[in-house]
């Protein structure tokens, strides 16, 4: 890749991140002026008052925390949104997370105006290929049902990082063992990976290319791309039957 290509690719990614910041090209932030705050009286603050410096604060709608995640999921109307297909009963827990997959796929499709839309079956097959629908397969590096790495968790919460347009707040590694938290984080990450795959390819990515990008294999020098897709394909074919 030449430097020119690299800069082009970077600019494109940046553009996508900004589009994903929903509607405007600036992040929805507000400035909080210097103000006094009541604290518990201590040796450092005997008066019980401390001065908080001026700082910026993200406005609601550009991030999700645990409380907001539950609020959205619990209030979502499932009736008219696309749901993943049902797997046969040989997969333990294979259909337990269908509602969560449907809700969060729809949520991010709408929020980011993703076109073509992410398919719930793609998300379900990806989760199957990452964890066999186990809540926390043995892995010292990646966590939970979608095998989110500690590094990815940092990125999706970094207000200045790759996905700064829409981030999560206050999500711990332990939270990722909970599918109610792990699934929205994973789908937000897939939405980013879709945009990234398309920036790399210069065209709309197929579902398999999105999955390869999620697994870090789209443009790597790996000889094992076919192997890496095998389990995903297996799940996806079963869901498409």
């Amino acid at each position: 890749m030449t430097i020119f290509n690299f800069i082009n690719c970077y600019n494109y990614l940046e553009k996508i991140a900004l589009i994903m910041a929903k509607k405007s090209s600036t992040l929805r932030k507000t400035k909080v002026r210097e103000h006094a705050r009541r604290v518990k009286p201590s040796q450092k603050n005997p008066s019980g008052i401390t001065i908080v410096d001026e700082h910026s604060r993200r406005l609601l709608g550009t991030y999700l925390d645990e409380k907001e995640i539950y609020k959205i999921a619990n209030g979502y109307i499932l009736k008219n949104i696309p749901k993943p297909s049902v797997l046969d009963s040989k997969f333990k827990g294979g259909n337990d997370y269908d509602d969560l997959i449907a809700i969060w796929t729809n949520y991010f499709n709408e929020l980011f105006s993703i076109e073509p839309k992410l398919e719930p079956n793609v998300i379900k097959a990806l989760i199957g290929s990452e964890s066999d629908f186990r809540l926390d397969p043995k892995n010292p590096i990646a966590i939970g049902i979608a095998q989110i790495t500690k590094e990815t968790l940092k990125i999706v919460q970094d207000p200045n990082g790759e996905v700064k347009g829409f981030i999560f707040n206050n999500i711990s590694q332990k939270d990722l063992k909970n599918p109610s938290i792990a699934i929205p984080v994973a789908i937000r990450w897939i939405a980013y990976k879709k945009a990234r795959a398309e920036a790399k390819l210069g065209r709309t990515a197929t579902h398999e290319e999105i999955i390869l990008e999620y697994k870090g294999l789209l443009k790597s020098g790996s000889n094992y791309k076919k192997n890496a897709l095998e389990r995903y394909r297996d799940f996806y074919e079963k869901l498409k039957k």
Binding site: F91, D132, A142, G216, N223
Partner: protein, 173 residues
């Protein structure tokens, strides 16, 4: 007496030949799983017909942990059937699995495997696997998924994700 000795020699020779033959044989029995026919394979084989590997997938960025556990099975036609873990594994987890299975392979001459998926010929592969003294045979089948390995006394399974396993094998909770 001479006759008796030669009879004994023939008998011993036959015994050696029979035992050699039974060690080399590989038996596959297919069973139905929920919703699919002949989707579970019970393979009885000699421990020496198994080679294991951890393959680094060479993924980018935060995905550099991804490894594939692969077990290669050599059949009596000098063809290789590859078997993989259902999930990508971190290197340490993959190595630990190899160690546990190797312990069973080193201790017992014959083992039984429970594998998932249908046995299908693979015509596009041009990969060969090094089986040491047994040569470098080609991969001729599509990959199956590893479920369990058992000897007469020991077992190692990674079948927590399914609701059933092969007949005669133990299902982990």
């Amino acid at each position: 007496m001479k006759n008796l000795r030669s009879n004994l020699f023939v008998f011993l020779l036959l015994m050696v030949l029979v035992s050699c033959k039974s060690q080399a044989a590989l038996e596959i029995h297919s069973f139905d799983s929920k919703g699919e026919t002949k989707d579970l394979q019970v393979v009885t084989l000699n421990s020496k017909s198994i080679v294991q590997k951890c393959i680094f997938l060479n993924a980018e960025d935060e995905n550099q942990w991804r490894h594939d556990y692969v077990m290669y099975i050599l059949n009596e036609h000098q063809e290789v059937i590859p078997v993989m873990s259902s999930l990508h594994l971190a290197k340490s987890v993959c190595k630990e699995q190899i160690k546990k299975i190797k312990k069973i392979l080193n201790k017992y001459q014959q083992v039984k495997l429970c594998l998932r998926g249908k046995i299908k010929a693979e015509s596009t592969s041009n990969e060969f696997v090094d089986f040491g003294k047994q040569g470098k045979p080609p991969i001729k089948y599509e990959s199956l998924i590893f479920d369990s390995i058992c000897s007469t006394n020991d077992c190692y399974s990674v079948n927590e994700a399914w609701t059933e396993t092969c007949p005669g094998f133990k299902k982990l909770p």
